[in-house]
Symmetry: C2
Subunit: 301 residues, 2 copies
């Protein structure tokens, strides 16, 4: 079964898609004005020995922070369900906890609960995270035709970290992602954007979700996709930037009139932003201008 | 490493135990007046083929409901992280979802999000659940010397379901636990009780947690432990009632003056309640009157 087939069965009759408050967006807004997200990382599926225990502790926080940020919210609390084999070493637990605590402190998040269980095999970390209370959110489903498409930071660095591990120790994208929460919160609260999601499954997949839920199409300018020196001149650069994921950057929509304000705001938070294309009314279109999308590189499922 | 050693490292420096708002109680109260709990069930650790897919879907909801109930709260929303091997059958997903939806409907809980990932081996369900907003909670850490010790329902039925599976199909305690949420909410809101927890790890373990966090001792009358006809005359009856767990009943403390009101309230909700002992000031005591605790039967870790 595909991931989507499973989701369709599990969610059948509970929520209607596309919806604004519920399953389907990056995080879900509760009746108590809190956005909640829940992400799981399993050894051998979401991480291997390219990540240290400390990286893993950092990353389970970061991937959830990314979903909260994409709602235009700020993280507040988290619960962690940790499942480890009986033979786990104290060293591993200590190092994982160091990364966990660093990330929680970095984003000022309180760990308020969870559970610890034995795993018959892989290490499993499952984190639920709640946002500060808010009365408004930015959804992925509200992009409009004519909006510019923007992305933060650079794309493809985690892919380079995965496929060329050890090549450049300065590239921490795969191990220590740092979603731009403060910028996301500002963009949302200053009313500069119309829709937002995070780039976790790759630009191609996340952009498609945005198009489908917003009922619009998209045209991306491939030469505008921001890349770092890690990605520069790599043979598969375009695939790394669009088909891998784990970028934990923001993908957002805005009216053209907001361009200067967006650039000024991003500069204030020292986060690079780039206009990479535009949303169009033809919802059958989701393409790279002048070329095909590269082949998928990787699937977590 | 033991479960507690792992918890101590993961939680070090984040919260002080015993505390009222944070890691350590059945659920954690957030700054937004919502109690949150997070429980995980792993194939081969928390369930095996004694549970059908439909049972599993029901039970992941029920075990979280039990924690919310123990805070004197009502469940509101849930997120589910589901990890399954690629070869999972659609039949399994459908049946699990049927149990899940039945339980969500039974307790009027909205499934608001989560994620679906591939598992390299066991099926893993991790659920986070939030309560309705509340300004007050019942903690496990506030029992007082002189309080009566009460328990709801009967103890040991899940143990019989586990060790004598198939003996009596009417005994659904292991497969379809039904925590008494409405009674818990009433006991809390009518101010009838001083402390509460749920019996998930066995009376012995959960009572010890209550004693340790409340800094009191406890003396239990073994002939007062409520048992159903499933447990009656079983050789290991006392161990089933105290050392197995998965009862998902409530264990609570109340002043002796509340006895009649507690009985009347429980009768209204048609939930049996039983006074099984008393809390004492000597916090070195946690015993069965006139006999030793049986040996542990089972550990999830």
């Amino acid at each position: 079964m595909t991931e989507q087939e499973i989701i369709n069965i599990v969610c059948k009759g509970i929520v209607k898609a596309p919806q604004k408050y519920g399953v389907g967006d990056d995080a879900a807004a509760t009746a108590t004005d809190v956005a909640v997200t829940h992400d799981t990382m399993i050894e051998g599926v979401h991480f291997d020995d390219k990540l240290t225990a400390e990286d893993i502790g950092w990353k389970i926080v970061a991937v959830n922070v990314s979903d909260i940020a994409a709602m235009g919210a700020r993280p507040d609390w988290a619960t962690l369900s940790l499942s480890v084999p009986s033979k786990i070493s104290e060293k591993w637990v200590r190092e994982m906890s160091t990364g966990l605590h660093k990330a929680l402190k970095h984003w000022n998040i309180r760990l308020i609960g969870g559970d610890t269980t034995r795993s018959p095999g892989p290490i499993i970390l499952s984190m639920c995270m709640g946002s500060m209370r808010s009365r408004t959110w930015t959804f992925k489903s509200t992009a409009q035709a004519g909006n510019d498409i923007w992305v933060t930071g650079t794309l493809g660095d985690a892919a380079v970290g995965f496929f060329h591990h050890g090549e450049n120790p300065l590239n921490k994208a795969l191990q220590r992602p740092e979603p731009p929460v403060s910028l996301a919160y500002a963009l949302h609260n200053f009313g500069l954007i119309t829709a937002m999601t995070d780039v976790s499954d790759g630009l191609y997949v996340d952009l498609q979700h945005m198009c489908t839920t917003s009922k619009v199409g998209a045209i991306i300018e491939p030469d505008q996709l921001p890349e770092s020196s890690f990605v520069y001149k790599k043979k598969d650069a375009l695939a790394y930037k669009t088909m891998f994921g784990e970028d934990y950057e923001l993908l957002f929509a805005a009216t053209p009139s907001m361009e200067d304000l967006i650039k000024q705001t991003a500069a204030k938070y020292r986060i690079p932003v780039r206009k990479i294309g535009r949303f169009v009314s033809d919802d059958t279109v989701c393409k790279l201008s002048g070329m095909e999308w590269p082949k998928p590189l990787f699937s977590h499922f």
